[in-house]
Amino acid sequence: MRPHSSLKQEFLKEWIKGLQRCSFPKKSILERKKAIKLSADIAMASARNGTTCWSRALISSAAKDGSDNNHLVKQILGPESDRPAVENKAPARQASVCKKILKRSCRIRRRGRRKCGAAAAPSSIAKHLVKKRRQILRSLIPGGEFMNEICLIEETLDYITSLRVQVDVMRSLATASVRGTE
């Protein structure tokens, strides 16, 4: 695992850059919060430099054309040239993987219906539980729907460390701001 301090520094650097780039809308606190969170997320994802699946998925989902905070994202991402490449790769891959997943899920659904009657065995119940939880985990992790199980666990590991870093940095900033006001 990467050392936390370097990750924190990287994250902070990226976050600052992102925040500086986006013009702070003074309208409402929610807007600001959205901007802050978004920039933090993108900073976190870019700190990984596209090595992990979730980071790419996060950036691509944030930069989708249909999303409402698109302009913010564009601002934050700025003129970096590698971003479009990342974005372009992800959707195509996602589309193809999507189809596979759909097929798989249809098959599983059919199998599941057939199995419903014989679900009394403890092992099958356990498997069912585990599967359910895996589904939930997939929904939590950005880009999780496109991963197989091993990938999912790896990405979860990485995602958790990044989240921790993010939380730590934000918390220190918040406390610093609070102390600054006193």
Binding site: H4, S5, S6, K8, Q9, L12, K13, I16, L19, Q20, F24, K26, I29, L30, R32, K33, K34, A35, I36, K37, A40, D41, S123, A126, L129, V130, R133, R134, I136, L137, L140, I141, E149, I150, I153, E154, T156, L157, Y159, I160, T161, L163, R164, Q166, V167, D168, V169, M170, R171, S172, L173, A174, T175, A176, S177, V178, R179, G180, T181, E182
Partner: protein
Amino acid sequence: MLHRLESLKSCTYDRMDMTVPERQAARLKWQQQNHVVQNNNPVELCASSGSVPRFQGLVGSNLGSGQMVELKRLEVFLGTDNFQEFLNFPVTGPEFGDSEKLDLLPPEAAADYCISRTSSCQMTALDTAVMKEEREDMVLEKMESTIVSGRGSFNKRKAETVADHKSKDKRIKGEGEGESEVKTKCSTEISRNSSKENSKASEVQKPDYIHVRARRGQATDSHSLAERARREKLSKKMKCLQDLVPGCNKITGKAGMLDEIINYVQSLQRQVEFLSMKIAALNSSVENLPTKEFPAIVANFPAAAKLPEMAGLPCFQLNPLQKESVNCMLNESMHPPQTEGIASASVSISEQSLSSSSMTQLQPFSTWNMDPQGLYNMYNMGFH
């Protein structure tokens, strides 16, 4: 491993009506020994270890015609000493039936193995027995994977290493095996039995080669091997996750672990939301939020160099606090030179702007004191 077997006592298997070949094998023994057995404590027997006493049990339960040849071979393989001890173990079928039915399985397997090994002119009945045994093993595995591994290890763990354990071949479809393989099985069988019974059993030399074979009680096709490798990978990763996620040490089992992981990820995501809200609230009045605070934080990256310069600034009162927090958070003793460069550049620019605007910026903060408190409460409550 033994306690695992004991735990399986509760499982009831209809094993007392043993398959024909097993009965035949039992009969062989009986004929040979002519009722030279005494009843010992079955529990003891189970505890002592398996396959040999079990075999005795099998023997005891059925009498029938047997073949001297097979017995002789068995003797050879097992060693006469062991065989003697065979005889001394308790016998009667029903007793065995009560105690540890599951224990019947490994010994039956052992019996089958023995028998299959002993005779090359194998009866088809024994073949089927072996096949059935394999099937049963697979069923067993599905029911309790740990038991299977426990069984295999129960057979071997005392004496053998993992390599040996793995080399124990499950592909015993009866005869037709190469001589070397027979020898391997032989030695494994013997060493197994010896480990079972007494440590004083004669040690057969280990095979020269080590196959990566399917473990005992598991299928051998490539799919299941790959599946098993995948599962092991998964479990390794789950262990890593266990270290990462707090409170996962006591939880065993995938579902519980996944539950904890999900909860943790959700809580972290919620924290991020709260914190971003808090920061937004705290700094809502400041237009130049980034330029105000962050450069100060960034300036702390080069810990020693810039501090004296920062000290001279009017916005210095913020800096120590931020310095502290950043010091705590970043644990900075070493900073990459690039960050220093960037930091110094940005700091020099922003310092000038800050020095002029700091006074005006500080004042609005006082009006926001309530909000941070409210946010703090929200923040704290959200995690209880």
